[in-house]
Symmetry: C2
Subunit: 329 residues, 2 copies
Amino acid sequence: MGITTLRDVAREAGVSVATASNALNNPSVVRPETRKLVLEVAAKLAYIPNVNGQRLRARESRTIGLFVRAMTGEYYCALADQMFRACQEQGYEVHICMVVDTRSILKKLGDRTLDGAVIFCDDLEADAVERMEAYGIPLLFLGLEREGERTSCILYESETHGRMAADYLLGLGKKRLLHIFGLPGNLDSEKRWIGFREELRNRGMKNAKIPVLYGLFERASAYREMRKYLLEGHQPPDAIFAANDLSAIGCMAALSEMGYRVPEDVSVLGCDDITLCEYITPALTTIRTNFWDTGTLAADEVIRLIRGEEGRTIRQSGNLVIRKSCKLS
Amino acid sequence: MGITTLRDVAREAGVSVATASNALNNPSVVRPETRKLVLEVAAKLAYIPNVNGQRLRARESRTIGLFVRAMTGEYYCALADQMFRACQEQGYEVHICMVVDTRSILKKLGDRTLDGAVIFCDDLEADAVERMEAYGIPLLFLGLEREGERTSCILYESETHGRMAADYLLGLGKKRLLHIFGLPGNLDSEKRWIGFREELRNRGMKNAKIPVLYGLFERASAYREMRKYLLEGHQPPDAIFAANDLSAIGCMAALSEMGYRVPEDVSVLGCDDITLCEYITPALTTIRTNFWDTGTLAADEVIRLIRGEEGRTIRQSGNLVIRKSCKLS
DNA sequence: CTGAAAGCGCTTACAG
DNA sequence: CTGAAAGCGCTTACAG
């Protein structure tokens, strides 16, 4: 069985290829009976246009690239799932591209297969970003501050989130704070920590030394670091602000293993609000960053850029979600 | 800035388009100096082949479709992440296609954009499957039993898993069992339940009435059903086998809310071994289905089919992972 | 309203 | 070893 092409449909319907094409894509230009005939033949032959031909001709692909380093974890899943749904509604496909290095991104951006791209990859040098922009296709960066004629970015208000964390913990009467930092170089890590310290300073804790452990946004690392810290004989803090929920959960495991109770002995505050927060014991109090909405937002924004509108910076706000892991002193 | 095409490279290098193409793709046929020159020019002009042109010409896309209903949840993430990695190594792209209905699958399968497809979608009628096969492109079904010239499937040994569950629970001295069924119509749900009952029968529990609740593979549904069951005044079982971990976890929540302790009063056994199993309290004992490997297996198998080898049925075995949610009576 | 022609960018026989 | 030509399947001016 050979694949049906437009030529087959045209021949079977007794019209030219041009007319067959018009009947399918440009109804108004074709006599109703002709159109009906072509449509019937197309259906009978189960004609499906060859997308490669269409795209070569059209010089557009109606697909959006989603560049990520991995697909594991709730964040990526939510991002991808939402992008797919939102793009589908607007007639765009989504192609997920696993980033291996800058070159792989540039190559994909240049192969005429994408009308726009959402790039979630925090370790990009300014130089690389400029070369990406040189292709002229709309770019939307996540977690990377960048705005241009055809490039937008979506940012979390991470400094505010850090401030909210400090405010909440201080309000509970906490005095000896500890911070689990995320990933060095990661914008949100830095901003959460900056906001956190700033609020402490504003609230009179000018000279407080806040110990910082590096959780790398992972449960295991945070667990390991916290455990090490306690084993080294440090006095435990009375409250911990972790740069994300996963590292907060790792912390809690270490604390409970070392005989400290959460929240009675130590309050733990996370950031993100992943599903897990509700499932663990005690349920994790956290700053909800609303990352669940980022995918939809991202889809709408690239499509906006593709339509020719100008780049801009979008900020997503968050809110405190109080559960069981923090307690008044 | 116009996009660089092969013609640009050829002109700049002072050779024909054919020679430029050969220099890039068919080195042995071109004089070394010519090749070197073309390569230099291509690099200088940052030439990237137009993939649409290549694919139209080549009549192959070197991409594999992954058809799923959603991208949320650990199972989908793991599947996608692994497929991407394994395919990348072998020079294939992966396109995730959100299934909306049979028509959408057929259309995608026919648009010459895919060299093969992995289809994870349990509610497909036999008729639809046949129409998919009619395109002649290699198909790999997940959780659907089907084998053909160019179609393979990967199945879990779910009956065995059900038997393992019964064996383990019986070995712990359990007498009053309850089953949380997965999704009606889902192959693995059915098989887990069939195997479970069969083993019970073989072990002398011929006439035991095993209550069955419908958890739909979800935490919330299982929670609701379990809660309802207990509120209706039924005597609680001494052990529960849930068709998946999520529903086991929902169950545990309902039990603990109603004042029953796991595993002291009720043992709970899950199936899958998702990450959550280790994080909750008590950590969930489960049948590990090794779904973490399915993505890699799937990638290798479609590529095998694409290379022209014959379809077959692959079965993935599982094993019991003992944690804290089951206890000797 | 319809069809012949051109061309999107590429690769591969084929002739020289 | 190199280049002119054909053609993958499609759509869109353009002429009739």
